[in-house]
Subunit: 210 residues, 2 copies
């Protein structure tokens, strides 16, 4: 009984924090403000249930990455032996867009993830979450095997480009939805289509030499 | 005399702030810490010379965007009537990489710009700086005129992708240089080559329809 109440409190804090971080910035919001927004009478609730700001950020990241990994493992299992580059790019992109579509508007995770990825001290947290994903390793290897001949450095560079493009385009769309400003695509599914097209072009682009 | 001392103090503050923001995060660093790092006996120096955190961020962004715009205007002037897509992409990308190469390692502006672009409250500052650039408007129109037929929404989407890819890839490289970790390319010039290749592929990628 006590355990389940603690778990409910943690969930309230995670949701309040994610929203405040997305809307005002991860560092502009204090643990006290998160505790208050989660309607915890005790304004040290974040410290009690999570620890530091970095611990709270990690808990939010973990919550979503577990759900996204589940979708990704399903998609990877469904990708047949004849899956082409676009099919593997879909495995890379759609787990995130499908997760956000499942959550329903408004979401906050996209803006949260973009900030954390860009922050000099917190970015490590996002990398640790993705490094521990077996399905991402599988997708990365499959994409690699389908590329034309190119230097390893260019592969590494385009892997960085893909990762950054996905995380920041997802945040852009989420923000536009939250602000009620126009979006280039009408659904998360179509947004994924646009990213698959663009990243297929990016990965297959000829490499010029000096 | 007094004016030139004030101007030197402003410059010391801008440099100290840019570095601290890049290394620790724009919101993790207080105006007091910036004043101290700039060796101003008076720890309200930031407030006196700039105003708020947002005003300080704008001053740093302005300082660099003026210098980048100068390079960009030169490159646009040199782009002949027969300039192709890659030439215009060079006009989009090289002013930033050339500016950073000119500053010499270490630089901080790349990481600063990526954070500001991603922050929910500060991002507007970066957009205002780029919206007021006549050369960017010219480049954008030229790229648009060289694209195959595609829906306006896809053009807008790929414009967002280009912008985000450049700002975040520049920050990644700057961080790797600062940390002494491997970089895919050995110079800023080669980094620009890699982005031109990738963005040419991205812009020209076929658009799939459902």
């Amino acid at each position: 009984m006590r355990a389940s109440r603690a778990s409910a409190t943690r969930e309230l804090i995670l949701t309040a924090a994610e929203r405040l971080f997305a809307e005002h910035g991860v560092f502009a919001v204090s643990n006290r403000q998160v505790s208050e927004a989660a309607e915890q009478g005790n304004n040290t609730a974040v410290g009690y249930h999570f620890g530091t700001k970095a611990d709270l950020v990690r808990a939010i990241a973990r919550k979503h990455s577990v759900q996204i990994e589940e979708i990704r493992q399903r998609m990877v299992a469904e990708a047949g032996a004849d899956a082409d580059l676009r099919a593997w790019l879909a495995c890379l992109i759609r787990p995130t867009t499908e997760h956000l579509a499942d959550l329903g508007n408004p979401t906050w995770y996209g803006r949260f993830a973009a900030q954390v990825t860009t922050d000099p001290t917190l970015r490590q947290i996002m990398y640790e979450e993705s490094r521990s994903s077996p399905s991402l390793v599988r997708i990365s290897a499959a994409i690699n095997g389908l590329l034309p001949d190119m230097p390893d450095e260019v592969r590494a560079e385009r892997r960085d480009m893909s990762r950054l493009l996905i995380v920041h385009m997802v945040a852009e769309r989420e923000r536009a939805l939250a602000d009620g400003t126009p979006t280039p695509r009408s659904s998360w599914q179509d947004t994924a289509d646009g990213m698959i097209d663009a990243l297929a072009g990016l990965w297959l682009a000829p490499v010029s030499t000096r």
